[in-house]
Symmetry: C2
Subunit: 501 residues, 2 copies
């Protein structure tokens, strides 16, 4: 039995070595690669992904997986091995269902679509992107058919990113959440914008910003012996195993919060990955329970910690010392209000906490309509504009800041967006449980003491990696299934105070 | 026929994508990887190398190679395709001769040997390294047997690095060269060391050194759009294709020449790799004709260009401006003499031009004696000391600065060292041809004009990559086979002037 598991682990390890290598090639592509390296790099990554896929769906691996399934049959279902075999079985079932012809065609079409998008976005030229997006919708419908019968055509898509959740569940949660968020936003906007954040939009030294951010995340618990921070145009976290988890950031010298909160956001992801137990290394379980769960950890560090008043009670004096001419005369309360200023905007990635989910829900609605054939790709901009007006009260001036803004669709990712909003909800739900478990949490944070918080996260979330389905994990930890209430309560409380609602 | 070549190229391309990925993982390991990443990284590289090897020796690849051999049978033997198929055939024959059991055991034993060496070197503890080196000698003898019958047991080893050359040829050249170099060195030492280089051993700013070196190599022709320079403890050049060729350097703030000449040395390698014609990308031909030929390019840029008087006529004023307090009062001639100071030393990597080859010949002699069973591993230090006295007139105070100094043997590399000396010889031999072709070369260099030199190297050396055997390439270019005469003449001329011999 142990031999069978060892064989299985060995074959799986090689698949994951190939994926880790592909990840490193991707990291390098976005950090240090000279421009000339691009074409060869794309080919190298494609080769690694293809070989990793081939090995994963090979007869040899299938046989090893079957043997492993027998070997764990009598184990505690919560044991590492039982969970590993269960999760790999799920991934394997998904991989073998999808034909390799489809995978080839999908990679081909998304390659073309990405190239087209890169040109179309700055030119605000949606027409040239239409045929590509049409192809992608067709391919994604075909993809769903590999998983027929399904309750909802969007189910197999979301399952790629958030295992176990159903489209209708997400829809019910969003339908509940949206009116509350829209109403809150209206209230805030009607109060008028009396929050001044001009002092954030002045010159802040790149190097000093970077050092400050790195000191913060080191104190929270990011381990620089098992990771590093570099610069990237679009910040991300990537791991080549539990002991090499790297983050990237983007410092803006004319808007200080971008770099710091990007660093804290990615550090939240990285704490998750660095906290997975070592016995799960070299397996897919190091990727965590789901994208939504991962996002809960990044948003928790970025927002629930990083945009909170206790955190700034701890760090504001130091920030003032670092930037005396910019912040020396700005009071803590005014700084806190400035970094939490609410302003509906056209761009998702720049959205504040009060508006972010609305951007996500807009995309979720449109993706579903496209997948169900209720919305033609050509009519997408019109639908986008209507929702933008309905949810955020904004007119869309051009496609660059509208339907072409995100990279996701060009890469074939449909079903990904909802995980961003789920992350916010999970974070708030976990936070309520954490606050019960650590009654003086705010005081600890105000003392720059993150040890109890980190220990709790390690114990309850991080160590498990992807052992459990996200819904099961949430139930285990909070005793409840996913709900938007903690999040809406948190938003209400926070903005009621800042905007005196 | 075209289809067969296309299939062959496609399969070969995937093998080389895996190798390029392994190279990038290695580059990262030596530049940016956090300490925690080590163990997983070693495994990832091993997996990539194993898969690349498996694919290369697979029946599928063998069949594609056979088909390609037929397809090129009627082509011009100097055409890209004919050369590619010929060179891949050579590499393939070598790979299939060696049993996979041997490869597994070799990788296992060298892994252990490297770990042992890392500990033994600083402790000067040769005894703990003996069993490992014994194993490696045994394995290398077994390796030679895969290529039986051979003229000399060392032939199959050197063939891994310098195709086509025989041990006895190298020995004849070295036997010819050694007395001349030893005699020259004695003459220099007897003249007494009147060369002052104290001003090189003072503080030079790291950043300024780096910038100066990068400006120099940019002007020589290193293309930073297809490469970059980073720091590494042991500088190296690595390529992930013709359009991404990276160099590393090691700046010492207390000895300026180390960083600059390391940068120029690696840039010499990189110019070769960046200059290979694009049609050879994604094939083993991008690695050049041989290690010796590669070293000829690095030593040419480092020494024949970088340690020459015309070069410093061009760059010394700028260097003085960069480091006015260190060099402002040092005359050009004195600087030139200082960077060419001859001093027999114990460490190969720190050796000057007059002594470098002697370090190589010492190792060549000892490797051959061990391979032939004439020298027991346990007796190696004694033999080392005797040769060190004979060739360089030095006593060896400890194993750290003696038999344990190089990493090569711990990695199983026997037969590699001679390529360093061959590189020096080839460089000087090429240089004579270049001087005939470009009569005013020195004047051009003194004007910072490297365009004619680079164009000549591109046309005659770089573009061909590994299309031709090193001996054939040398013959093509110089009309002669390998000879030490140009090198000894160069050394004599140079040091006669510096030391007024």
């Amino acid at each position: 039995m142990e031999d069978q598991l060892a064989d299985f682990r060995q074959l799986l390890g090689k698949v994951y070595d190939l994926r880790a290598a592909a990840q490193l090639l991707g990291w390098d592509q976005q950090t240090y690669m000279p421009p000339g390296g691009g074409p060869a790099r794309a080919q190298q990554i494609a080769t690694l992904e293809q070989l990793s896929h081939e090995r994963f769906v090979s007869d040899e691996f299938g046989a090893a997986l079957s043997a492993a399934q027998h070997a764990v049959a009598d184990l505690d279902p919560d044991s590492d091995d039982a969970c590993l075999v269960r999760e790999v079985t799920r991934l394997h079932d998904r991989s073998v269902r999808v034909s390799s012809e489809w995978v080839g065609e999908f990679n081909h079409q998304t390659g073309l679509a990405f190239e087209a998008w890169v040109k179309a976005k700055p030119a605000a030229d949606f027409n040239s992107f239409i045929p590509h997006l049409k192809q992608i919708v067709v391919l994604r419908r075909q993809y769903a058919e590999f998983f027929a019968p399904y309750e909802h055509v969007y189910d197999p898509l979301i399952a790629e990113f958030e295992p176990g959740i159903k489209t209708l569940e997400v829809k019910a949660i969003f339908d509940d959440l949206r009116p509350t968020q829209v109403a809150l936003l209206r209230e805030i906007v009607e109060r008028g914008s009396d929050v001044n954040d001009d002092f954030l939009h002045i010159d802040y030294d790149d190097h000093q910003q970077r050092r400050f951010g790195e000191e913060v995340i080191r104190q929270i618990g990011y381990d620089f012996d098992r990771g590093r921070q570099d610069s990237a145009a679009h910040p991300f976290t990537t791991e080549f195993g539990i002991n090499d988890v790297r983050i990237t950031t983007r410092i803006k010298t004319d808007y200080m919060p971008t770099g710091l909160f990007s660093t804290m956001h990615e550090a939240g992801h990285a704490l998750y990955a660095q906290g997975v137990k070592q016995s799960l290394d070299r397996t897919p379980l190091i990727n965590g329970a789901s994208l939504g769960f991962h996002e809960s950890q990044s948003r928790m560090i970025e927002n629930l910690v990083g945009r909170s008043l206790p955190f700034w009670r701890a760090y504001y004096p130091q920030l003032q010392q670092t930037f005396p001419s910019q912040l020396g005369s700005v009071k803590l309360q005014d700084f806190y209000r400035a970094i939490n200023k609410v302003k509906p905007s056209l761009i998702r990635t720049e959205a504040d906490e009060a508006t972010y989910n609305l951007h996500v829900m807009l995309r979720f609605d449109l993706e579903i309509s496209m997948m169900r054939g209720e919305l033609e790709v050509a009519d997408l901009p019109e639908a986008w504009s209507a929702k933008m007006q309905e949810y955020l009260g904004l007119d869309v001036p051009d496609h660059t800041r509208g339907v072409l803004q995100d990279v996701h669709w060009s890469g074939g990712s449909i079903g990904y967006f909802p995980t961003y909003a789920l992350g916010n909800l999970i974070a708030a739900q976990l936070w309520e449980t954490i606050q019960s478990a650590i009654p003086d949490l705010e005081q600890q944070i105000a003392n720059k003491d993150f040890s109890t918080l980190l220990a709790w996260l390690r114990e309850n979330v991080h160590q498990h990696g992807g052992k459990f389905k996200p819904s099961d994990l949430l139930q285990r930890i909070t005793g409840q299934s996913l709900t938007a209430e903690p999040y809406t309560a948190y938003l209400r409380r926070k903005y009621a105070e800042i905007y005196q609602l």
